[in-house]
């Protein structure tokens, strides 16, 4: 930590940090310890007795075909959400960056889906993709000749939650990409243009590499979003169905813990998710040491 000029007081700094510490202890550390303990215990359905069973819960988890299937679904789902929303966000941001006159207007018109709750995005797309009334579903049926039915067919249901989750995230990515694009020095682009590079060449040879820290950050944030915040989308649209086809990991924690009341199993799932997000965070800190400076 940087050595700075400080105030000297014995009690005040502790008083100031107290609320933060209390809230963190009560709602972070204590639950985390409880979760860790429950994940190595088996408790009876009434929660009266629990026995220590080492890693049996985890072994049961990773030999459970349903859990392995849920992992696969989550990976497919989050990769698709990230790919769709990043490519569209980057594309629109590149276009908006070229449009010199209307930048502010364009930003205003693209920014607000960020404020729409994932669950509400779920409702909007549920209507658009409704097998009998949805206009997008109608298009899919007519143009692609697919017998669209997300209520019965798993692949259609996954496609549906991907659309609803990715749509909302486009504007989030757009904000970051437009900030990243504006931070790229004009002189670099001009120099390349004088050397005769076409606009497309300039994008791939200069803009895109310079954007890579933003791209990395946005990818991490999108994956975290797809892993955790899409709970509302799944709960509104499919409730994990049909037949577990959209049962992503965070939804399975909820289902097993609160509906199936399997405390040990649900806690060990939480521990797996916690480990995962810690690894992602550490990776992010390791690879993005020096960030590009942005001013907004």
């Amino acid at each position: 930590m940087i050595k700075r000029s400080v105030f000297s007081s014995r009690l005040l700094p502790y008083l100031l940090i107290l609320p933060q510490i209390v809230v963190t202890l009560a709602f972070f550390y204590w639950p985390a310890i409880q979760g860790l303990m429950q994940s190595v215990m088996r408790s009876d359905p009434f929660g009266q007795h629990s026995t220590f069973i080492w890693f049996d819960n985890f072994i049961a988890l990773f030999t459970d075909p349903l859990y392995l299937k849920s992992i696969g679904i989550t990976l497919l789902f989050s990769a698709s959400v990230a790919a769709v929303s990043i490519s569209l966000g980057l594309f629109i941001a590149t276009m908006a960056n070229r449009a010199l006159k209307a930048k502010a207007v364009v930003r205003t018109m693209l920014i607000w889906p960020y404020a729409v709750a994932p669950a509400i995005s779920g409702i909007l797309w549920l209507f658009l993709l409704h097998p009998s009334y949805g206009v997008v579903a109608l298009g899919i049926k007519r143009w692609f000749g697919i017998d669209w039915n997300p209520v019965l067919r798993g692949s259609d249901a996954i496609f549906m939650i991907i659309m609803a989750s990715a749509w909302k995230e486009i504007s989030y990515n757009f904000v970051f990409f437009i900030a990243g694009l504006q931070a790229i020095p004009k002189s670099l682009i001009e120099a390349a243009a004088i050397d005769g590079a076409s606009p497309f060449r300039r994008f791939w040879a200069i803009t895109f590499p310079l954007l890579s820290p933003t791209l990395f950050f946005v990818t991490v944030m999108n994956i975290i979003y797809a892993f955790f915040e899409t709970f509302g989308v799944v709960h509104m649209m499919t409730q994990g169905g049909p037949g577990g086809a959209t049962n992503i990991l965070v939804y399975k924690v909820y289902q097993d813990g609160f509906i199936g009341l399997n405390l040990g199993g649900s806690s060990s799932q939480s521990v797996v998710l916690m480990t995962l997000i810690i690894v992602i965070t550490l990776l992010q800190f390791k690879y993005v040491e020096k960030k590009v400076q942005y001013t907004g």
Partner: protein
């Protein structure tokens, strides 16, 4: 741009308009659907000319979804989270940056370990904690066999159970979501960029720590606070999993959760016009906050990356 590329420029604008339309389409379509009577909204394909039933549908959504009370709950929850987070983290960051004390590093590390761990990964134990916030003390009490001690002192059997449930309460909706280090981290980063001379000068003029905080630090942090107000308000308003778990009483539900009852089931009449009217109403407050405070919001969002 650098050179004149009229064809490419035209193409840019066309693609941009197409992009905006694609992004805006779900909302535009929902707005149209919310103005139509049920006969039109269930026609395939739905007519794209707005009808005149907007207020009727809004009213239906308002009464059927009990939106008045739900919107109020959402408002309390979102403002509570925003206010709580900002106050807690302002003080926390001030303590970490402007004081030197023995447990500073411990406090710093223990708070920042919680960075980026969303409530979704620890729902069950957090729920148990909220069901009885005094649980840890009860546990301690039981481990130390203080029951026996108390009985011995009093001379007869005493059983003490400590219970205080946060379920179905505003405190329960708000407090667990205040436990996050992101705001503290941002304020710490910002405080570190403030020139040291300001603090030196304040000390030389005899200002106390709290005077410095109030008269210098707070005014300087205005933009950052504004940005966080937008981000945290949207975050709080859009919460789903936590309010779903902690509220069972319909009077305590938040607006986003309440919307689920408006979605027509397979056997019902397809009242999508009402469901979408309700959705539009519930998504409006955070959208307005984002649009009106756009400048600070973008700044705050992008600054998170640093």
């Amino acid at each position: 741009m650098v050179e004149k590329t009229p064809i490419l420029d035209t193409l840019t604008y066309i693609l941009l308009i197409v992009g905006i339309l694609i992004v805006g389409f779900p909302i535009i379509y929902a707005v149209i659907a919310a103005t139509l009577p049920i006969e039109d909204v269930s026609r395939v394909p739905m007519p794209l000319i707005p009808g005149d039933q907007f207020l009727v549908n809004m009213k239906a959504a308002w009464t059927e979804g009990d939106l008045g009370i739900h919107l109020f709950n959402s408002f309390i929850m979102a403002s509570g989270i925003t206010l709580g987070k900002i106050i807690v983290s302002l003080f926390g960051a001030f303590s970490i940056v402007y004081f030197d004390y023995r447990l500073r590093t411990v406090a710093f590390v223990s708070v920042f370990c919680t960075l980026m761990l969303p409530v979704e990964v620890r729902i069950l134990p957090t729920y148990e904690m909220a069901a009885n916030i005094l649980g840890p003390f009860q546990g301690l009490w039981n481990i130390l066999h203080l029951d026996g001690l108390a009985s011995w002192i009093a001379g007869h059997d005493i059983e003490i159970s400590l219970e205080w449930s946060l379920l179905d309460s505003y405190t329960g909706l708000i407090m667990p979501l205040v436990a996050s280090a992101t705001c503290t981290f941002l304020f710490r980063q910002f405080f570190l960029t403030i020139p040291e001379e300001l603090c030196e000068a304040a000390k030389m003029d005899g200002a106390s720590a709290m005077t410095f905080f109030r008269k210098i630090l707070l005014p300087l942090s205005k933009t950052n606070i504004a940005a966080l107000v937008v981000i945290e308000f949207v975050y709080g308003w859009n919460q789903y999993l936590w309010p779903l778990l902690i509220t069972t009483n319909p009077k305590m539900m938040t607006a986003v959760i309440g919307l689920q009852h408006l979605i027509p089931a397979a056997d019902d009449l397809p009242y999508w016009n009402v469901a979408l009217a309700g959705s539009l109403l519930v998504m409006l407050p955070p959208i307005l906050v984002v649009l009106f405070m756009q400048r600070w919001f973008v700044k705050g969002l992008v600054e998170r990356e640093k």
